[in-house]
């Protein structure tokens, strides 16, 4: 049975919300897990002392700036850097010619399989500029202002090519080809012709044609979603110090210091042993700070500038134009039901824009698409397509929001046509243990149905919504989560505290959630654990903070460290007490053997009189459980302007076990806020030539505090069977349902089914006008 905690209602209560519960009253027998202590890095972050990447200072620091292509698609005929080099204060200028030659070969660098030539080419364009904002040259100078002036003195001769901006442009018969050597990879079968279709795959089971033919009801719809950005508030920044002995140190804002090390090593053909990456505090990532952008350029500039350190800080326009947006997409969904409302067949075709180089998240999207439902006859097709937009990067449950928007819209329409409650329809068809996800793999214990049930039982869903132009919608979503590799060490101090060194950058309170798992394992207080995020020279390889893995996997390493320390302490105490190690027990923070007993703090001293004690742990857990979320939203539409107001929002999510409930809620609320932005306003706006028009936080409209209500959270705890504390990844799945939920609420309010994102005022107004025209004139066309 799932354990649910309802936190907050629309009329929230300050006394019961966000209450700090650090006094050892965690639940289910836990002492630390489930409490809400203050994070270790908190004081530095509220006082302005925390050092982020742009804050790094050192003697002789040079400042780098990057010149970017003003064109979406162009051959680079030549680059003249002489005027920039002549400007006083300029110390180095680099172009792609300064990069080592990269092989046209796919490698797995620990951050996904990638063609090495593409990886290098995205750092500095070699022969072609492939998007507006593509880096083409860089300068290091004694001040940022001089570097900026120098950049404007670089002369690039471009030969313009037609811009390929969308799926349709890219797949047209006469489409200009972005990458000459690209051939379609269809699950290992390689195409013969140059193409913009990088890959194609299919999941398929059962007999789809027969199921559609026999169906009671079929709904089929096509959708379009636009490119959106992660929108982290801290622009990318890195400082490189290239010592004359060849050792290189990089301070950077990254989700994975080892991922940076691997990519820089590959791009610059440097052995990893010569690179040390120091992760600074990081101002948001959401998937966008896994790929490197400025780090290799800073290293190159440092090398060329006589080994002076070089810092590159992106500005906001650079961030939006040249770093990680996630894919726009064209999606077609067709779902059939029988007379009882049971889904009998589902089809999803996903066309995702990868940006300038292959690698859209369509693979993940395919698994998200129909995941919440048990479907015997299913087909999902995925297409990865290159277009003249920035290389797409991961963004919180990559690809999932697009796919769920499409599927959840169709599901809502089916429920409505069947006359069924939207939650009941999802419960009837909900996937559970032993059902199969779209790629055919069987689920272990999952909590999809529990999340729908939690929404159905919520005060929100149980309270009816009154008023004209108001509507309610729900939607579900899936995310696979991830385990990944983590390394950590723990040193016992003689005063009974423990120094925990781990390498997962802390973006949202993971130092706290990892400390808590070690404290729980050792049955000591949270404040006795001092957790630090360390550099790549200090612990072994550690995967990125991403895939909702950090509290799960690095927390597992912390648990493992606790077990190891405890075991060694017992062994040494047995020696001191002259008993056998099996006779030493540990309970409630006290070691016992016969008449002997010693509290942890004193034991820490005793066991280290002759030899210090530290433990190390490396883990690579495979048994991570996926996450599900169901969400409910009330909206109000201004019928004269098409503007959506979010009145109320409730999210139920299967969180496994919430280690630090405040940060779990925070992940849920943050993911929903991003999903709301994606649903109603965020989009990349390009002109016909592929120029990005809205590369600012004024016109790339992320939600402000005034655009959102309080976001109520229901923590559904279906412990993940694979983890010692039942942890499931909680960071990502929350962004999957919002667009679908809002689209369904908009339909409920207006009778308009939106087939595109964002549901901006302009788009919704147009759709409402089209519906009025249809109602006034032509008969409503049948759709089934």
């Amino acid at each position: 049975m799932a354990d649910t905690k309802h936190n907050g209602t629309a009329a929230y209560d300050l006394a019961s919300n966000g209450k700090v519960d650090g006094d050892g009253t965690g639940q289910n027998g836990y002492k630390v897990i489930g409490t809400r202590p203050v994070r270790p890095d908190g004081v530095d972050k509220v006082t302005g002392r925390a050092v982020y990447a742009a804050d790094v200072q050192m003697t002789g620091l040079l400042h780098g700036k990057i010149l970017r292509s003003p064109h979406a698609h162009a051959h680079i005929r030549s680059i003249d850097t002489s005027k920039a080099e002549a400007l006083p204060g300029v110390r180095a200028v680099v172009t792609a010619a300064d990069l080592p030659v990269a092989e046209d070969k796919i490698e797995d660098l620990g951050e996904g399989a990638i063609n090495l030539k593409y990886l290098s080419d995205n750092i500095l364009a070699h022969e072609k500029a492939l998007y507006h904002g593509h880096a083409v040259a860089a300068v290091a100078a004694i001040s940022p202002h001089i570097a900026e002036e120098a950049v404007s003195l670089i002369d690039v001769d471009y030969d313009l090519l037609p811009a390929v901006m969308t799926v349709d442009d890219a797949l047209a018969d006469d489409a200009p080809i972005l990458l000459d050597t690209l051939r379609t990879d269809a699950m290992g079968e390689i195409g013969a012709q140059p193409t913009n279709l990088a890959s194609f795959f299919r999941h398929q089971r059962g007999d789809l044609d027969a199921a559609f033919a026999d169906a009671h009801l079929v709904v089929e719809r096509a959708f379009r979603t636009e490119t959106v950005h992660q929108g982290y508030i801290e622009p990318q920044a890195a400082t490189a110090l290239y010592s004359a002995d060849g050792q290189i140190t990089i301070w950077t804002s990254t989700q994975g210091s080892f991922a940076v090390r691997g990519q820089v090593a590959e791009i610059l053909k440097i052995p990893v042993s010569r690179l040390k990456v120091i992760p600074t505090e990081i101002g948001g990532g959401f998937g966008g700070k896994i790929n490197v952008y400025v780090e290799p350029v800073a290293v190159l500039l440092s090398q060329k500038a006589g080994y002076e350190p070089v810092k590159i800080v992106m500005n906001r326009a650079d961030v939006l134009a040249a770093t990680g947006p996630t894919s726009g997409s064209n999606i077609r969904v067709k779902i059939a039901v029988d007379v009882n409302g049971k889904i009998t067949a589902g089809l999803a075709e996903l066309y995702y824009e990868a940006g300038a180089y292959p690698g859209s998240p369509v693979g993940a999207a395919a698994n998200v698409s129909l995941a919440p439902y048990a479907i015997d006859n299913l087909q999902v097709d995925g297409y990865d397509i290159v277009v003249n937009r920035p290389r797409s990067a991961a963004y919180r449950a990559p690809g999932g929001t697009n796919a769920a928007f499409a599927v959840e819209s169709v599901v809502d329409e089916l429920a409505e046509k069947l006359g069924m409650d939207a939650a009941d329809f999802r419960i009837l068809n909900g996937a559970k243990e032993k059902d199969r996800r779209p790629d055919g793999v069987q689920y272990a214990r999952i909590g999809q149905i529990e999340t729908v049930q939690a929404i159905k039982n919520s005060r929100h869903y149980q309270t009816s919504l009154e008023g004209k132009y108001r509507g309610r919608g729900i939607a579900s979503g899936y995310w696979n989560n991830w385990g990944g590799q983590s390394s950590a060490t723990a040193a016992l101090n003689p005063d009974g505290t423990v120094n925990l060194n781990e390498a997962s950058t802390d973006i949202g309170g993971t130092r706290a959630s990892i400390s808590m798992q070690l404290a729980e394992a050792l049955e000591i207080g949270y404040e006795q654990v001092k957790t630090r995020v360390v550099d790549t020279d200090t612990v072994a390889y550690n995967d990125v903070t991403g895939g909702s893995r950090t509290t799960f996997a690095t927390g597992w390493a912390a648990y493992d460290l606790g077990q190891k320390l405890k075991q060694e302490m017992k062994r040494r105490l047995a020696d001191v007490w002259d008993v056998s190690p099996q006779d030493v027990s540990y309970e409630d923070g006290i070691f016992y053997a016969g008449d002997e007993s010693l509290p942890f703090v004193e034991a820490a001293n005793v066991v280290q009189r002759e030899e210090p004690l530290m433990a190390s742990s490396t883990v690579h857990p495979q048994d991570f459980g996926p996450g599900f979320s169901t969400q409910c939203v009330d909206v109000e539409i201004d019928p004269e302007t098409g503007k959506i107001t979010i009145l109320r929002y409730t999210i139920a999510q299967d969180v496994g076990k919430a280690i630090h409930p405040s940060y779990v809620e925070g992940q849920m609320q943050g993911g929903v806020a991003q999903g709301i932005g994606w649903a109603i306003n965020e989009e990349y706006i390009y002109d016909d030539e592929g120029h990005l028009l809205n590369a600012s936080l004024l016109d790339y409209r992320m939600p402000t505090a005034l655009d959102l209500p309080m976001i109520d959270t229901i923590l559904v705890e279906v412990p993940s069977p694979g983890h010692p504390y039942g942890v499931r990844g909680v960071g990502e799945v929350n962004i999957v349902p919002p667009a679908g939920a809002i689209a369904n609420a908009v339909y409920d309010a207006t009778g308009v089914r939106m087939d595109k994102l964002p549901i901006s005022p302009a788009n919704l107004l147009e759709a409402m006008w089209a519906k009025e025209a249809e109602a006034a004139g032509k008969p409503v066309p049948g759709d089934d």
Binding site: G8, L14, G18, V20, R36, V38, R39, D41, G42, V43, K45, V46, T47, G48, R49, A50, V51, Y52, A54, D55, Q57, P88, H145, I146, Q230, G231, Y232, I233, E234, P235, I282, G283, G284, G285, F286, R316, I507, G508, G509, H660, S662, Y663, E665, G666, Q667, Q669, G670, G671, A673, S696, L697, L698, M702, T704, A705, L706, D707, L708, M710, I711
Partner: protein, 157 residues
């Protein structure tokens, strides 16, 4: 290269003189000339609030102030919010409510919230959201930030 000019100002209560180029913004001067890195640049054009400071007690984006403009005036940054080693109640409540995740926007939010409570010690949720609309946070969905500010206000009442 432009000549540097000397600027005399009161910074977090201390008389301070520093050199800057006229084209340097207050944000640049704070970070690069004065070593006060708590004010952050999220956008550089007044649309995110991460660099917010108080200028003669009024909330402003330090990225949209030229450094020489603060001659003879008083500036309070995030570094000046805690007094005598004691966290300001806003700082304390931001910690307790887990109102920060990545923390990059936090200094701006705390400075803005202080300005709000200085002007309006008893704001409604709507007042808080309206006042803080110029501060972008991408991690939290604002829920826990708004709660922390209301909690401080409630304790004021």
């Amino acid at each position: 290269m432009a000549n540097k000019t000397a600027v005399e100002t009161t910074l977090n209560g201390e008389e301070t003189t520093f050199l800057c180029e006229p084209r340097q913004t207050l944000l640049e001067a704070l970070r690069d000339e004065l070593g006060l890195i708590g004010s952050k640049e999220g956008c550089g054009n007044g649309n995110c609030g991460a660099c917010n400071v108080l200028l003669d007690g009024v909330l402003v984006n330090s990225c949209l102030v030229l450094a020489p403009e603060i001659e003879g005036r008083s500036v309070v940054t995030i570094e000046g919010i805690a007094e005598d080693g004691e966290l300001h109640p806003l700082q304390q409540k931001f910690l307790e409510h887990a109102s920060l995740q990545c923390g990059i926007c936090t200094p701006g939010f705390i400075v803005s919230s202080k300005a709000l409570l200085d002007e309006n010690p008893n704001p409604t949720e709507h007042d808080v959201r309206l006042w803080l609309a110029g501060n972008l946070c991408r991690c939290t969905g604002y829920d826990k930030i708004v709660r922390a500010v209301l909690d401080v206000a409630q304790n004021n009442a």
